[in-house]
């Protein structure tokens, strides 16, 4: 395709390509459909991601609720500081806490509660049913009012106008809150209620300390000098470095990260789908070229050059690409409307479809690269077709052309594709890794096919006709075993990997309610009421299993004198243990369900020295050793202690677990509160209702509620992963059919000859079965190995779950894939069952 053609020849190419396409579009449906499906997938993910980013960017201030947000923690800002902030602009102060909301004496639910002043919200609006209900909470009536979200309404079975009890005070439900602009992330899937700050103050509501935050949002008077104003605001609160600030765009950062991760995952899968589709394109084009073997030879004998013919077919593919990519893009553009249905309503996000030329070109460019990469080896095979074959009536099938020139060209194109893709994602490292793994897997399967042929050649003494035919088909000079192996292999590997990941997720959902799990979690219990509470519950149910652990807040400062940030990278699996505030506990004896696997427990009664016990997994991840010196900041004071032992902690058993435990004798000096678990044969609902009525400040979460929240999220992921697997399966199957089609033309010829020679139908069928079985069984081992490794890495490292192998599922996938592929192969070869001699002789 190097040679330049003049305008008239280009017009001729256009004419031939369109004529050829209009007369043989049936043969190109594989190219068109695989391209379409994979481009659609790509377009869907790109469009949704772009719409999300646009929405978040456009609503940055609404999502934060101000030009700046200041969080001072448990204590409010001193009034002097508050006044200073007021000079900069309008301030809305609020208190964010977690507490129980109950229907008096009946049921209660642990909920996120926000107490807001009447400046709230500074940006955006509270959307409620009935409309305008938000104002009611500020009305100074005898009875304070509350807005609850749908989840609380459902769990407590309360209606608008009913009363609920919050921290011992009765509130009237003024309405349902559908969304607030600046929703806390932890409230997205959970329970959420709003009251006014004045009712909070007036009733002297108070909750146990550790779950309370004072928040201040500012809307600057002078919005022209935002940068300067921000700097001023920051300088006002600079005196205390525990006060945190957030700016627009930083809000919902972790939400952003989740969206990015997920869409990145989708993008990678859709590029994989594209590449698999590419294999299909490559196969189809090759079979297309082979079916046109004589026509191409004739054109050459008339005087057309290989370049001309190649360019014509290439042009035809590009026409298909343009057509399918436009349709796929238009479908994809409207996908944000669909995505809206799946996003939690409480986010208040309304995605808008956007059509842009750049957006389309992005899809087209990726499609073009994939098409180029996979059509070059197929179309260059045209140069191997010899017109002399027309004199001898023998046609050698051509195979993929991997000349040095092509290999260099392909390497360049693959690099461009990878780079282009990597540049668009935030996780460049993982993306490069993924592409590498993908291409290595492809290479592995190419190698597998060569190995198979090599070994078969060594043991070729077959007495049986069926075996001999199968053997010949595989080891033949221009065998199609490599194409079969790569297509089937990649399809099977991706299918297995995704199924393993999805299955492990599903397992996590169904296994996440261990029989020993408690019914209730007490979130924070003041040490003064602990014994009263204990007695109260024991009175209700004398057989109750009740366990309380002391708890204090601490943060990790250094390991052996080196600041922890320098030792632990952000990507470390256990980085969460040493980042931010961690709740620590203490004990004098090791817990039986936390076996010590290295080091020893400490002798009781040493008040002056701190001993530390660490979660073993975290300790190994963070590179800790027994007797290391660890410095913790406990209540503003740096304390250095000695690491004494590693415990094995299984967080999934849903009891109270701590990564860090210290010795009791030392900890007794610290201020603390309790957390606890309860398991009872009585209804936990009833117990909780009684407890909350008697102890309004005690908060407890019902375990099944947490689990249903977790499984709600996991279920969404599971649905997405399964959906993607399905698309990959569909594309994989189309590719397998295309691989079969490559073979069909020659097979028909061969099988016909066998038939003429007197080999009967059962023998041909047997030969085909053996051939498929040999290739498939070889594949199983390699596909399974890659899939196990891949899914293990994803499950253990990315999802942080425990990977388990499921033999039943594996066998099921292997069996169904084999059956479906083989049936498809037989169907694609159906013409061999009643071979007609006539068309063959007429060279049709």
């Amino acid at each position: 395709m190097v040679k330049l053609f003049n305008a008239q020849q280009l017009r001729l190419i256009n004419k031939y390509a369109i004529r050829d396409f209009s007369r043989s579009y049936k043969k190109l449906w594989v190219v068109a459909s695989t391209l379409f499906i994979s481009l659609l997938l790509l377009s869907l993910t790109f469009s949704v991601k772009e719409a999300l980013n646009n929405e978040i960017e456009a609503n940055a201030k609404e999502l934060l609720g101000g030009d700046i947000q200041i969080t001072s923690g448990i204590d409010p800002l001193p009034s002097l500081v508050f006044e200073e902030l007021k000079a900069l602009g309008k301030v809305s102060s609020s208190i964010e806490l977690a507490t129980m909301v109950s229907k008096k004496g009946q049921s209660s639910v642990f909920s996120e509660l926000r107490a807001v002043d009447d400046n709230y919200p500074l940006y955006g609006e509270i959307i409620t049913t009935p409309q305008g209900a938000a104002e009611k909470i500020f009305l100074n009536t005898d009875k304070p009012t509350v807005l609850i979200n749908e989840s609380i309404q459902n769990l407590l079975q309360v209606e608008i106008g009913d009363d609920v009890v919050i921290m011992g005070k009765s509130f009237n439900v003024a309405g349902l809150v559908l969304s607030v602009p600046d929703l806390a992330e932890r409230a997205v899937f959970g329970e959420f209620a709003i009251i006014s700050k004045s009712s909070y103050d007036q009733f002297e509501l108070s909750s146990a300390g550790s779950f309370l935050d004072h928040e201040y949002r500012l809307k600057f008077n002078n919005s022209n000098e935002e940068g300067e104003q921000t700097r001023l605001a920051k300088s006002i609160i600079a005196y205390d470095d525990t006060i945190e600030t957030r700016l627009p765009g930083e809000s919902g950062r972790s939400l952003n990260r989740i969206i990015d991760n997920f869409s990145n995952f989708l993008n990678l899968v859709s590029v994989s789908a594209m590449i698999i589709a590419g294999i299909g394109i490559s196969n189809t084009l090759l079979s297309f070229v082979n079916q046109r073997n004589t026509s191409i030879a004739v054109k050459k004998s008339i005087g057309f050059s290989s370049n001309f013919i190649q360019l014509m077919y290439f042009y035809e593919i590009i026409l298909i690409l343009i057509g399918t990519s436009i349709i796929a893009y238009l479908f994809g553009v409207f996908s944000p409307l669909l995505a809206n249905e799946f996003l939690p309503k409480s986010l208040g996000i309304d995605l808008q479809p956007t059509i842009s030329l750049i957006g389309y070109l992005n899809i087209f460019f990726i499609g073009l690269l994939v098409v180029l990469i996979f059509s070059i080896p197929s179309l260059y095979s045209i140069s191997e077709i010899k017109a002399v074959a027309l004199f001898r009536n023998t046609f050698q099938p051509v195979s993929l052309n991997f000349s040095l020139k092509n290999i260099i060209l392909l390497a360049i194109l693959v690099t461009i594709l990878t780079t282009y893709f990597v540049l668009q994602t935030d996780q460049k490292y993982y993306t490069v890794l993924y592409f590498l793994a993908f291409f290595i897997t492809m290479l592995i399967f190419y190698g597998v096919s060569k190995l198979l042929i090599f070994f078969l050649r060594r043991l070729h003494k077959f007495s049986n006709n069926g075996y001999r035919i199968a053997y010949r088909n595989i080891v033949a000079k221009k065998s199609l075993a490599p194409i079969m192996t790569i297509s089937l292999g990649i399809g099977l590997t991706l299918l297995l990997t995704l199924s393993f990941v999805a299955n492990n997720l599903k397992k996590e959902i169904s296994d996440s309610i261990p029989s020993m799990a408690p019914d209730l979690f007490f979130v924070s219990i003041d040490r003064d009421i602990k014994s009263d509470l204990e007695a109260f519950i024991k009175n209700i149910d004398p057989n109750v299993a009740l366990e309380f652990s002391p708890m204090a807040s601490a943060s990790f400062i250094s390991l052996n004198g080196t600041p922890i940030e320098e030792i632990v990278s952000k990507n470390n699996r256990s980085a969460w243990v040493v980042r931010g505030d961690r709740r620590i506990s203490w004990a004098e004896k090791p817990k039986p369900d936390n076996p010590i696997i290295e080091g020893e427990w400490w002798e009781p009664g040493n008040e002056d020295e701190m001993f530390i016990s660490m979660d073993s997994r975290a300790a190994y991840d963070l590179g800790m050793k027994i007797n290391d010196k660890i410095t913790l900041n406990i209540l503003g004071r740096d304390v250095t202690g000695t690491l004494k032992n590693f415990r094995e902690v299984d967080y999934r058993d849903i009891s109270v677990n701590f990564a860090i435990i210290i010795n009791k004798a030392f900890a007794n000096k610290l201020p603390y509160e309790y957390i606890g678990t309860l398991k009872s044969d009585l209804s936990s609902n009833d117990i909780l209702a009684l407890v909350v009525e008697r102890f309004p400040n005690v908060s407890a979460i019902k375990v099944d509620r947490i689990l249903s929240q977790i499984s709600g999220v996991l279920n969404k992921i599971f649905i997405a992963v399964t959906g993607i697997s399905l698309i990959v399966i569909v594309i994989g199957l189309i590719v397998i059919v295309s691989a079969v089609m490559v073979q069909a033309t020659f097979r028909r010829y061969n099988n016909l000859i066998y038939k003429i020679l007197g080999v009967d139908f059962p023998t041909i069928l047997k030969a085909m079965t053996i051939e498929f079985a040999v290739i498939y069984f070889t594949l199983i081992f390699f596909a399974l190995s890659v899939a196990v490794l891949g899914s293990y890495l994803v499950v253990e490292n990315t999802l942080q779950l425990t990977w388990k192998f499921d033999l039943g599922l594996t066998l099921w996938i292997l069996l169904t894939t084999a059956t479906v592929s083989f049936v498809l192969i037989l169907m694609a070869n159906k013409s061999i069952f009643s071979p007609k001699v006539y068309p063959l002789i007429r060279n049709e």
Binding site: S301, I302, G303, F304, N393, N843
Partner: protein, 221 residues
């Protein structure tokens, strides 16, 4: 008279060094323009090989081949395509029409290869002369063997080549069809002053030619 084809000490070998098949051994002959020649000989003697060499689709192992006084041994594929396009029309034993093109489109292909774009009427006229006026828009699968071969000959002739190469053009036809087809071929080559080199097994056809070249074991006898 100028020479349309010239073979000088042309040899053609197949196979590797240790296992050489000598198909043509130092062949010398020439074809004058407007001359009609038939090549006869037993099966496997090398007749088709001569046609392949003359068309430039196969490369001689040794010697020189001139088409219209232009040396073609050693030319690159593109250049060979050009020589073939401008000088040669080929007729195969098995017709080899392009299955998804109609009769007229198959003929036009030959013109278009030579960048001649607006000669549909010439093609129609030629096919009409060949008795195919009512078959212009039929696909090859809808034509009989004789009709297919007439389209194939039209495809070779439409471009007014200097030379027609035909390898057993009547080999797949019955005697009635082959006689009428040969009439066409002889008439048109005469009329358009074209040379014709034709491989045949049919003595009655060979005898109608200006000259017969007999070949045996890769040598002219």
């Amino acid at each position: 008279m100028s020479e349309a084809i010239q073979f000088n000490n042309v040899s053609l070998n197949y196979g590797s060094k240790n296992d050489v098949v000598e198909v043509l051994k130092r062949i010398n002959f020439s074809v004058n323009s407007e001359e009609i020649i038939s090549i006869v000989g037993p099966s496997g003697s090398g007749k088709t090989s001569i046609i392949m060499l003359a068309s430039g689709l196969e490369t001689a192992t040794e010697g020189s081949i001139k088409i219209n006084n232009e040396e073609i041994v050693g030319l690159k594929e593109d250049k060979l395509s050009e020589v073939r396009r401008k000088n040669i029309g080929i007729v195969f034993q098995s017709f080899y029409l392009i299955p998804n093109l109609t009769a007229i489109e198959n003929v036009l292909l030959s013109l278009e290869a030579n960048q001649k774009y607006n000669q549909d009427d010439d093609a129609k006229a030629l096919l009409a002369d060949f008795g195919l006026y009512h078959r212009l828009n039929h696909l090859p699968s809808e034509l009989s063997g004789g009709e297919q071969q007439r389209v194939a000959i039209a495809r070779a002739l439409i471009n007014k080549p200097k030379i027609i190469l035909a390898d057993e053009p009547t080999g797949n036809l019955d005697s009635a069809n082959s006689a009428s087809m040969m009439d066409l071929l002889f008439n048109y080559t005469k009329k358009s002053k074209t040379s014709l080199v034709m491989v045949t097994h049919d003595n009655s056809i060979a005898e109608r030619c200006d000259r017969i070249i007999e070949i045996k074991d890769g040598q002219i006898v």
